[in-house]
Symmetry: C2
Subunit: 274 residues, 2 copies
């Protein structure tokens, strides 16, 4: 699957079975888009990784070496998806974290997924998942390695025409998609769900928040279904208009199109006729 994989900077695709990343999901990951060897959103990935290890309570691996290895791994790929995994490393038996930890870091590069031009132009069809995300404020927002909820949600359908599944919480709020964040436009306002209790705070979402005035808060399913525009954001796929949520249809609007244009200018999406 991966073109090139490195463990702690050394080429190799194997990790000790007693790494806490495998034993407990004790770590974090980033999925970074490299375009001709450059990652336009790298500062945001780096910021999220720094915040993540701080919240989990271990030291960041050497971040400059990590970036250099990621660039090296992506070389020769016009558009590379580089997964960076950082774990707390190996410890004694049991949940107690080793102090100090000796984190392990993995860099794995492969060709970025090709997004169908039709998905960018007309939009994607998505469904509502029956799984409800659990509320855990101590982990909310982090892109950590405990992703069984996303795995179970993604296993709810296998229709290739359905690009994504939307996820809500047990209080009836929309949170996002299995591997993307969600935005809606209602009455001229751009909205995105707050991620204080569950969900992953994506870097592409952060980039939108930096470029637009966005109301970050609660979004009910009913509010979503009556939105004027709906789109998903993803570091690998950019800005994707939603044209259908189950039987409800939507049309891409000016806000979605404006952001897509900026993402293309940044190299984060391929040209419209590409």
């Amino acid at each position: 699957m991966s073109a090139r994989t490195y463990l702690n900077g050394i080429e190799g695709a194997w990790i000790p079975t007693h790494d806490r990343g495998l034993m407990y999901g004790d770590g974090l990951f980033e999925t970074v888009l490299f375009v001709d060897g450059v990652a336009p959103l790298w500062p945001r990935h780096r910021t999220r990784l720094e915040a993540g290890v701080a919240r989990l309570g271990f030291a960041l691996p050497p971040i400059d070496a990590l970036l250099a290895v990621a660039q090296q791994a992506s070389s020769g790929l016009a558009r590379a998806a580089v997964r960076i995994t950082v774990t707390r490393g190996v410890g004694e038996r049991g949940y107690a974290p080793p102090v100090p930890a000796m984190p392990n870091w993995i860099v794995a590069a492969s060709s970025a997924p090709v997004v169908a031009p039709d998905w960018c132009a007309r939009g994607i069809r998505v469904r509502c998942c029956s799984l409800r995300l659990a509320a855990q404020p101590l982990l909310a927002g982090l892109k950590h390695l405990n992703r069984l909820e996303q795995v179970l949600a993604r296993a709810e359908w296998n229709d290739a025409e359905i690009a994504e599944g939307l996820l809500g919480d047990s209080a009836g709020r929309v949170i996002g998609a299995t591997a993307a964040n969600l935005f809606a436009v209602r009455g001229g306002r751009l909205l995105t769900p707050a991620l204080d209790e569950c969900g992953v705070a994506g870097v592409c979402r952060a980039e939108v928040l930096a470029r637009r005035e966005v109301a970050v808060g609660s979004l009910t399913w009913n509010e979503l279904m009556h939105a004027d525009e709906v789109f998903l954001t993803s570091s690998l796929r950019g800005i994707l208009p939603v044209r259908g949520i189950d039987a409800q249809t939507f049309a891409p609007g000016a806000v979605t199109r404006g952001l897509q244009q900026e993402w293309r200018a940044l190299g984060l999406m391929e040209p419209a006729d590409g």
Copy 2:
């Protein structure tokens, strides 16, 4: 840390970095006590593993081969702790589970932890963790690889005199400990928390449920603090009386002592004077 480790039955302590167990915590584990090459609670571990892979939606690895490898790994150790990890294996990029999956299974044996005689005799001191377990009915009860909550809870203290941390949910109910289940005796009734929304349903807990009449339901912190007896159960440590929860003290009673005696007869705990 581990004396002997096997991947899919072959000696070796490394796993591919793109195994879904590491990428997403997409798998399960068991920690099995072997006494002179025999695991008295093996049927319960096997039953839980079968139920776990069924709920996660992938096939069980060859279970007889797995037991044989676990026995082999434990050989030469009078009391061995054998961790069995089963993952969904390697897949394509993304959360969608591969169909069919090719599970990977890891067996790692080491000497079982020695339980201080004083812990068995007088009991252990525990604390109440501030972390609240999130409610996810689809994963509740499973010993899956998404264990960041336990890691964060266990990181709340580093006083070696405190043997365990108790965990509750956001509704004010007691659920268990970071790596053990909890029982309380109140007014002659034996109680243990229901694990329909969070928590891990331990095999030692299952053995107690099979041997005693137990009320499985809701237990508040206040009810716990006024219990006549409190004890923890663990496959590696057996039946451990609790003599203190923060400042509240307890004395081991007849129910706890009776179970300890049975556990010793089964070989699941070392003799009282051992």
